[in-house]
Symmetry: C2
Subunit: 529 residues, 2 copies
Amino acid sequence: MSEQLLAEALPGQTGDPREEFLSRAEAIVGAENVIHPGAPEGYLDPYPLNAGRDRWPGVRPGSTEEVQALVRLAGETSTALWTFSRGKNLGYGGPEPRDQRMVALDLSRMNRILHVDEELCYAVIEPGVTFFDLFEHIKKRGLELWMSVPALGWGSVLGNMLDRGYGMTPLGDHAKNLCGVEVVLPDGELLRTGMGAMEGTELGPIFQGGFGPTLDGLFTQSSLGVVVNAGVWLMPAPQVYANGDIAVDDESALPALIDVLTTLRREEIIQNNALCGNVVRAATMRGARRDFWDGEGSIPEWRLEEMRQEFGLGQWNCKFALYGDRGLVERRLEIVRERVAAAVPGARVDARIYEGEDGLPIQHEDIAELDRTQMAGVPTLKPLSTIGWAAEDGGHIDAAPILPARGADVYAFYSEVKKLYAKHGFDLYIGYHLYPRHMVHVTMIFFERGNEEMLGRARALYSELLDLARSKGYAPYRSHVDYMDRIQAGFDFNGGAALRFQELLKDAVDPQGIISPGKQGVWPARLRG
Amino acid sequence: MSEQLLAEALPGQTGDPREEFLSRAEAIVGAENVIHPGAPEGYLDPYPLNAGRDRWPGVRPGSTEEVQALVRLAGETSTALWTFSRGKNLGYGGPEPRDQRMVALDLSRMNRILHVDEELCYAVIEPGVTFFDLFEHIKKRGLELWMSVPALGWGSVLGNMLDRGYGMTPLGDHAKNLCGVEVVLPDGELLRTGMGAMEGTELGPIFQGGFGPTLDGLFTQSSLGVVVNAGVWLMPAPQVYANGDIAVDDESALPALIDVLTTLRREEIIQNNALCGNVVRAATMRGARRDFWDGEGSIPEWRLEEMRQEFGLGQWNCKFALYGDRGLVERRLEIVRERVAAAVPGARVDARIYEGEDGLPIQHEDIAELDRTQMAGVPTLKPLSTIGWAAEDGGHIDAAPILPARGADVYAFYSEVKKLYAKHGFDLYIGYHLYPRHMVHVTMIFFERGNEEMLGRARALYSELLDLARSKGYAPYRSHVDYMDRIQAGFDFNGGAALRFQELLKDAVDPQGIISPGKQGVWPARLRG
């Protein structure tokens, strides 16, 4: 099934078959938790890439039992449900289902924090729990725990983790900190994975792995079930926290910079996923495009250089953080300074160290606001302001291909991406997230909502960006709903064996094809072209 | 299917249906790589828990294409294959299949090291590659990489990883360092998981996760396919390595000791899975039981105390390691000393620091033999000598339940396990492996091979140990082939939903039920009771 079919009916359906499901769903969740087609509170991508989409109807269960009943009803009525937790997957479609005939399964009411264990550093939570919720719960109880948060704090902790999103502390690779899920399967049965599959155990959120194949990964980027709660690992609040910046003025120093920072990651000197951004990225946090440039096309190099000097920044501006006690943090910082100075002459390294009193953990209130960021596990909505970059009524789509953590490869890709942005008249926003072996090349394409000319250019740029990435063997680690089939098609080894295998699993686990059809390009048999 | 059925024919089979498969397999792998029933080079658990087992026939493919052809032939002839890599899973059944009518699929000839990347710290290898092989390859090429090795170095790197075994460096949780697998599916098709599913990419062994559900975990402790190569992460050789010991004389100090060490793990001060063993464990490395005690039953407490003093050890003897540069390692060691002294009065901490010359990584040759251990990623066969503990012709079975990393819980379990060992007349061998949130309670039961009286007691003890663990919500993280069904039965949430789900996957992926039937208690439809 391709994007062109988006607005067509599912095969075998006439009229709006969702109405039977929706009206019967009222008996399960209450009329106030059923949103009918055309209702203004219906679901929509806040940043749609095509105009004229209708709002989706949806249901909002409040408990596992309600999810089970809804899934069984969906089976009876052959209704496709599109699952999300908070719908805040901005730049990737938000709450928007893949297909016009689907019903949104909105889990935001299931927002209980079931357990937080300070000693062993984990939580068990439902999908509706936001990063703000968990953060505030930890603060209120005075627990000495830090969590990992992504750019925006209003999203679901589980939703982000299950879509394999990232945060910026040492636990920033969120899917790695998923430990045990409870899932409503497409037939309504309840499954617990890992050690949690034993009645009366407490090992579920403690140990990753059970007996037999490890199943947690199956429920990430998945349409195989509806996760109703999961274990999430947290970290002990450190006694000392440092937040550092590295500024490099020379654009072509990027390869050396990437190589030294990822080497420091591999050696675990830098403990979090360091960020490295360009001048456009810095500018999006300081205002709108019109504040800096009012011409057509990409902001020219000379103006970016002026802006850089006005901001007092480098061409490349990195952030990293350190966690531990004073001795360890100071030594780590010395090593960072020595290595960066040796690898990138002229680089400026600046860092602030925050230490808890009397040997106790540092409190977030005692960290200067500048550094009280996602790297300290503090949820925020600050980056939301960047949405206004291209226009007051702005939106964006995100592209985040994975690259090997090798400076030369990254620079070659960067140089070509830059040309693509110029060709289509957008400003190249770059935020590199640096991991030990790979990097995430995060770019955003900012546009004006509903501006068809600009949207057309954004779609063309996005498409060419995907082609360029694929030509080098790179692929995004997650995707906007509109591009899932296309990205999946790039996984072409042995004639698409990986997709065939995923379809085999899909058909076995969800023979009626009712849960999130088309998620990541995996369609159930009844909807495959 | 229960253990009692081990020696019976598979349903619907008469005579020895393996002969057709084996004779036709000769055309695929050559006659010299087919082992027929009754042949002396056939496969057997070296430490069988029941006498009178026959050696298994087997096939030894040399390439992926041969594995594909064998799997297709197995499908045609309805022959069940039991996959292993080197067959060195000692204490868990070695190469032994679950059922007398199976054919061993021995992957030891597939022993190519396909790629080792020094910069990004990973290898791509085939299942026949042993820890010794990979270590020697790295040394020969002079690569500055360290690997993680388990107790014995002759086993398969992939076999251990896919059975979710452990090593003792910071990368000791082996399954976490698995990155991308190439698998022959039960229909003979070739699947690559993760990013490796793109033709022409190099991201396969670099990034964990592809597009859609993460599949690597499905092929651990699994009967869903035959892994023919996989990516394995390595670490950069550190500049400084320290190996430390902690000795504690008071048995009842165990809870405080466990709590302080696992706290240090959670804070990433201690970077590897520290080990904590008792006096019996120390004695097994110094001789045979008869060298210390010649009476019946468990060695009495007073004698163990004498032995402890003769050895100059504690009741509890821990080992840990540190990795980094001198400043970081020294500070880590100071913290370990301070914390242990505060938590466990009287504990003795001793450590040796090894530093590479001129700022270069430490070389294994420059580490004293005492500390040139698995914690430094050096493969060895030394622990093999412990097999002679109970008798010259000795064997053992291993039990390794997972426990939460809480001292009080561990001590309560220890006290009950101790009584069980005394009841059945065995010496309690304890080796705790300490992780941030969980611990592995490794015990071995040493016996004399073929001594039916002793084997009967070993089986009774093992069985009661499993019951005790289950009663507390604990389960082993892997298992001897004879106990797989029984342990799987303990995963009883929602009437065994986890097993039903695994069976659903098994039947979808392997409808003929030819790959490792019964692995971890998951049987294909045709063999379910």
